[in-house]
Amino acid sequence: MEKFSVYVPRLTTKKEKFAPGHRACIGCGEALAVRLACKALGNNMIVVNATGCMEIVASQLPYTTWRTPWIHTLFENTAAVASGIESGLKAMKRKGTGPTQDIVVVAIAGDGGTSDIGLQALSGALERGHNFLYLCFDNEAYMNTGIQRSSATPFGASTTTSPAGKMSTGQFTWKKNMPAIVAAHNIPYLATASPSYPFDLMEKVAKGAATPGPAYIHIYSVCPVGWRCASDLAVKLGRLVVETGIFPLYEVENGKYKMSIEPPQLKPVKDYLKLQGRFRHLSDDTINMIQERVRREYYNLVEKAKNGR
């Protein structure tokens, strides 16, 4: 397309619900993803934020980055707070004592707040079928507390609690497949997204918000500080992670799997790993092992999408 940069901004709103001036680090992929998600969500939303990077960088008494109703309470209870908000609004609307418009309740949390400490509250809220959208911004470790490993940290990554050393190749477990856990709850809408594919991300967020019942989107979020990579790499890594098959983009709509993007040929995982200090200690053997597993899991997923489930 000619004059791409002239036309593209017209495809989305200029209004920023996640206002500039927050204190996210330079090159933060998560802040970019939150900003894009907010553009897709519009005016009638309430954001419930878990403790974590996005809560810390965007709030501090008496300031706020949020130009939308926003609440933070604790770390592990985001989905439960969202349950209460949704139920309160529902009851008051029915009884004619609260807001009459349809309000989208959006819960946002990091990978630790989702796949570790907040897993129970999330599972409960999904199972009960509340009408809300849950966005997990996955930067693959506890970045806010200083780069400690979580169950979403990929195999081999060196973090402050899974350091590489003479007796260790870094994280010794494989990344927990959070979208698969969510899919097992049989919710109406689930997707993965990367801010390097902004329109795909925004479309999925809008779709999730419009879905009656629970919706979940797992969003890849580059953390240059925690991953020890250059601060101008967030967008590049967000593409490479998809092109290598490490983080495939897909949707599960009413149990039906659908790939969002299928690269004709997967790039080697080494292209992705070598840009990040957290993987620099990995031997060729270990990289081959990772390559093998990524390939296997990716084609399993593609197969599922071919069969629809």
Partner: protein, 391 residues
């Protein structure tokens, strides 16, 4: 005029929640709170109460859902006990500091280990400093009345704090007692609609739950302290207007035959009724004894307590919780602290009893008073005694 009927206290508490027309109930089952939430679920299922019942997957989520519900301005209720209250612990602090008017009934239960589903005040004492308004009730009527009052107090714009109503597990929650269930018209007259001043609403965005750097945290806590302390005036006001409509009145500290009595016993919760009979018996036998019942636990009624014990020579405090390795009963510690700087104060004797559902009978209370008077004279080396323990 309301009719006096026999009803299980837990059922009556849920009926009170129906009378206030709650919007959201989020609860997780735990003995001995279960009858309260079961009956509420039933009322919602039968369309007798138009509310959302959220059957959450834990107490942590129960209280968290209550935060969300109260933050959008919905009238919110939950109930818990023992371990459940402990699992909620960190959320309780958030509810009060963020000034969310939630009402919770606690069917007081002992804490594990060993596991005990039976009643004592260990759970209540563990949440003492959570910033909630806390009221102990002694019978079913008080439970019903104070659950209704709790919404009035919590939602008052000068207060906006969560309220806990402590009722003893089993000894009170599972009793069938005669009581007046208020009429709907009376409750409607008494309780205004919940109008939370700044709810989460896209029409007027607010940010709730910012973090506080050291430069402002202390001031935030000071504001909270002022707020909770000042709530006592509103609580007294609420009890006054309740009395006008329902002809039943409450006060932070209640006295029974304590006027001029040399020896006073202080109790909380349902044991107070048994203790009253013991006091009657001892007075009939010529002993100069009276009873003090501490109803308002937070904010602590310093003035009322000092007034109530004025002139007494011996004050015996019965705790239903144990501060292990510490001064004994947590209530007694607070009573001592409240009286320490008084020039004239009674000798204070600390008993711990009724742990894990063990009953204290009328004869038991007579023994406690007699033994207390003796200990006050002889100066025991022990900080406290556990009543009836097999050593």
């Amino acid at each position: 005029m309301a009719k006096r009927t026999g009803i299980e206290v837990s059922i009556a508490v849920s009926d009170a929640v129906k009378l206030v027309n709650a919007d959201v109930i989020a609860a997780y089952p735990i003995t001995p709170q279960t009858h309260i939430v079961e009956h509420l679920a039933e009322l919602v299922a039968n369309g007798e109460l138009d509310a959302e019942f959220i059957p959450v997957e834990s107490e942590h989520s129960a209280m968290s859902a209550c935060l969300g519900s109260a933050a959008v301005g919905a009238r919110t209720f939950t109930a818990s006990a023992g371990q459940g209250l402990e699992l909620m612990h960190e959320v309780l602090y958030v509810a009060s500091a963020m000034r969310l008017p939630i009402v919770m009934a606690v069917a007081n239960r002992a804490l594990s280990a060993p596991l005990s589903v039976w009643g004592d005040h260990s759970d209540a004492m563990a949440v003492r400093d959570t910033g909630w308004i806390q009221i102990f009730v002694e019978n079913g009527q008080e439970a019903v009345d104070n659950v209704i009052c709790a919404f009035h107090i919590a939602e008052d714009k000068r207060v906006l704090l969560p309220v806990m109503i402590h009722l003893d597990g089993f000894h009170l929650s599972h009793m069938i007692e005669p009581m007046f269930l208020p009429e709907q018209s009376q409750v409607d007259r008494f309780l205004p609609p919940n109008q939370y001043p700044l709810p989460l609403n896209p029409d007027k965005p607010v940010t709730m739950g910012d973090f506080a750097p050291p430069i402002i945290y202390t001031e935030a806590k000071w504001a909270q302290e002022q707020n909770l302390r000042a709530s006592k005036e509103t609580i007294l006001e609420c009890w006054c207007s309740f009395a006008e409509i329902f002809q039943r009145s409450y006060s932070p500290v209640e006295s029974y035959h304590s006027e001029g009595a040399k020896t006073l016993l202080l109790t909380m919760g349902s044991f107070s009724e048994t203790a009253m009979v013991a006091v009657d018996n001892l007075r009939a036998a010529g002993q100069d004894v009276g009873l003090i019942k501490l109803r308002l636990w937070r904010p602590f009624p310093f003035e009322e307590l000092r007034q109530a014990v004025r002139g007494a020579e011996v004050l015996i405090v019965l705790d239903r919780a144990l501060s292990v390795g510490g001064p004994g009963g947590p209530v007694c510690s607070e009573i001592k602290a409240a009286l320490y700087n008084e020039t004239k104060k009674p000798k204070i004797v600390s008993f711990v009893g009724g742990l894990g559902g063990r009953d204290i009978t009328v004869a038991g209370f007579e023994n406690i008073i007699t033994r207390g008077i003796k200990l006050a004279k002889t100066k025991s080396k022990r900080e406290f005694e556990i009543f009836g323990v097999r050593e």
